[in-house]
């Protein structure tokens, strides 16, 4: 039995094409729409042919949308900035908190250890609305409402457990032997952690960073309920193109394209590690 018969290859290519079509055609279509006017988008039947325009992007960058009902102020760039601030800081904080904890769970057997790990992971799965219900009131009292700090804290619910889980799994895959050897050489615990364990866990950390960044980026309801307009991420901001004088599909499409760019860049950069890093602790050391 040969691995790749020519028939096998044809089937494989055919299947991959179908997969690619299903997952990427809608994105391709959105990409095209971002270069069309609303009138071209709203044609019956829809058509592939159009005169490309950069108008939608100009609106997003200039922050001004001229409609027949006047000039609308578009805060998309600010929203994009907020998304970057919120997602980046949340993930950064989660990494600072999560990597040492993940290391502790992976390397030490300690009383209540598994219970703490379980509690932390279960936060990921509590219904977010349940927490939001009273949280707005507490934030109000604590002065955390309408602040990045408050939001970044709540975002830990999304990012921290994910990082903990993936990175812990990866630490468990790395043999302790190298660390032992390094410590026998007279190096302290922290140095070992910093110089040996973390660099070895890079793929796991990269994969965890990317996935938690994506989940934080896509969040919608936290900022909507807990923050004022100047702190809203793109997910809420893009709804501003649903205007009284029509839905500006071209601009929504352009905002999707722009909002995907940072994440895609991150993903391509981390491409080597992404799959490798998600071993979840099942690979022997």
């Amino acid at each position: 039995m040969q691995r790749q018969t020519s028939l096998g290859r044809v089937v494989r290519v055919g299947l991959l094409t179908m997969v690619g079509l299903f997952f990427l055609f809608p994105i391709f279509w959105v990409f095209l729409m971002s270069f069309q006017t609303n009138q071209e988008i709203l044609r019956i039947p829809p058509s592939l042919f159009f005169e490309p325009t950069l108008h939608n992007y100009q609106v997003l960058f200039s922050g001004r949308l001229e409609t027949q009902t006047g000039t609308l102020e578009v805060r998309f760039m600010q929203n994009l900035m907020n998304s970057v601030i919120l997602a980046t800081s949340s993930v950064a904080l989660s990494l600072v908190l999560g990597i040492p904890a993940a290391y502790a769970f992976a390397r030490f057997k300690f009383r209540l250890g598994e219970d703490i790990a379980f509690t932390l992971l279960s936060f990921r799965f509590a219904p977010p609305l349940l927490v939001l219900l009273p949280l707005a009131i507490y934030f109000q009292q604590l002065g955390l409402i309408n602040t990045y700090t408050g939001l970044i804290w709540v975002y830990q619910l999304i990012t921290l457990p994910l990082i903990l889980w993936i990175v812990r799994g990866y630490f468990e895959d790395i043999s302790e032997d190298i660390e032992h050897a390094y410590r026998i050489d007279g190096n302290g615990w922290f140095k070992t952690f910093w110089k040996i364990a973390i660099p070895l866990a890079k793929p796991g950390i990269a994969a965890a960073t990317l996935l938690s960044f994506i989940f934080a980026w896509n969040n919608f309801v936290f900022a909507l309920i807990l923050a004022s307009a100047d702190k809203q991420p793109v997910t809420v901001g893009a709804l501003a193109f649903v205007t009284a004088s029509g839905i500006q599909y071209g601009q929504i499409a352009a905002s999707i394209v722009l909002s995907v760019t940072p994440t895609l860049a991150l993903a391509l950069y981390a491409q080597r590690y992404l799959v490798e890093g998600l071993s979840l602790g099942a690979v022997k050391g």
Partner: protein
């Protein structure tokens, strides 16, 4: 930060045994402390769920023990919500598992093309479902929608997607599949690539048919990954909100009234805090049980891997 304090302590050889005991707590405590704050609003929400508490009727607010729950359990629409949520979870996870596994198998070999492809396939995950749904609504519009046009070419000229009771579930499951299959795929791909080589090499030498290899070697060895990925998605799927709310707000009729959509409407449109909290508590209990299974399963998977080693 705690880590700085530890640097000094760790180098101090005399304290090592004590250090060994305290260190893991020092390392994990900051993370726990940051998360533990969330328990306070959680407790408050549980408290709300035992009150008659509608913001529009401030006078009638009062503690009623479990009456909200009893009312829920007597309400057929609540059981409908449970049923729809479970159906939705079942279909999304089932379809995504099969599809994700299939794609992972296609991309199994470590080539640059496959790596790039796996990143590109992650694109749907990078578009927030709340915005992606706006686009799906346009693409499934019977007049301007490209998907309606395409299925029209295949003879489905009157396909109504999310707007007809018979196809609404199909449509949101499809969108969920579009968004989250990549996540499933990447977890399973990681699993596939981490499998030990020897059994496969041996099978190839012996000329064992590929279907046999798949069902007798690949699948059993991959099972722990499959269960982990499926449980993870299950926990998210049963809490689905963004896609369904943006597509149909739970309609048509009550077709898609899943847990979080029902609770959101109760809270932010009907201002019925008590009832909303009770619905979410029920959801929380379900997810708690599921995540318990999830974590036990994951620990077992780890032990098993250790055992093999």
């Amino acid at each position: 930060m705690a880590t700085e304090a530890m640097t000094g302590a760790a180098t101090n050889g005399a304290k090592r045994p004590l250090m060994r005991k305290v260190l893991p707590y020092l390392l994990s405590l900051p993370a726990l402390l940051v998360c533990i704050g969330i328990l306070i609003p959680f407790g408050t929400a549980a408290w709300y769920s035992m009150q008659r508490y509608n913001l529009a009727f401030p006078m009638t607010r009062g503690f009623i023990w479990f009456d909200n729950y009893i009312m829920l359990f007597q309400d057929p629409s609540f059981w409908h919500t449970v049923r729809v949520s479970l159906l939705y979870t079942f279909f999304t996870v089932g379809v995504q598992l099969l599809l994700g596994l299939g794609i992972a198998l296609l991309l199994q070999r470590r080539t640059l093309f496959n790596n790039i492809m796996s990143i590109l396939l992650l694109l749907p995950l990078m578009i927030a479902p709340a915005i992606a749904s706006l686009m799906w609504r346009l693409m499934t519009n019977p007049n301007f929608g490209v998907l309606s046009y395409i299925v029209g070419l295949f003879g489905f000229t009157d396909f109504r997607w999310a707007s007809a009771p018979s196809t609404a579930l199909f449509t949101v499951v499809m969108i969920d599949t579009w968004v989250y299959t990549p996540f499933m795929m990447v977890l399973l791909l990681a699993g596939l690539r981490a499998l030990p080589r020897q059994p496969f090499e041996a099978a190839e030498l012996d000329g064992v048919p590929q279907s046999f290899v798949f069902f007798r070697i690949t699948l059993p060895m991959l099972t722990p990954y499959i269960i982990t990925a499926a449980l993870f998605r299950m926990l998210e799927s049963i809490q689905q909100f963004d896609i369904i709310y943006a597509m149909t707000q739970g309609g048509p009729g009550n077709t898609l009234m899943v847990f979080q959509v029902t609770a959101y409407l109760e809270r932010y449109q009907y201002t019925n805090v008590g009832r909303s909290a009770a619905i979410l508590m029920v959801l929380w209990v379900i997810t708690f049980i599921l995540s318990n299974i999830f974590i036990k399963q994951w620990l077992r998977l780890r032990e098993k891997a250790r055992g093999v080693a």
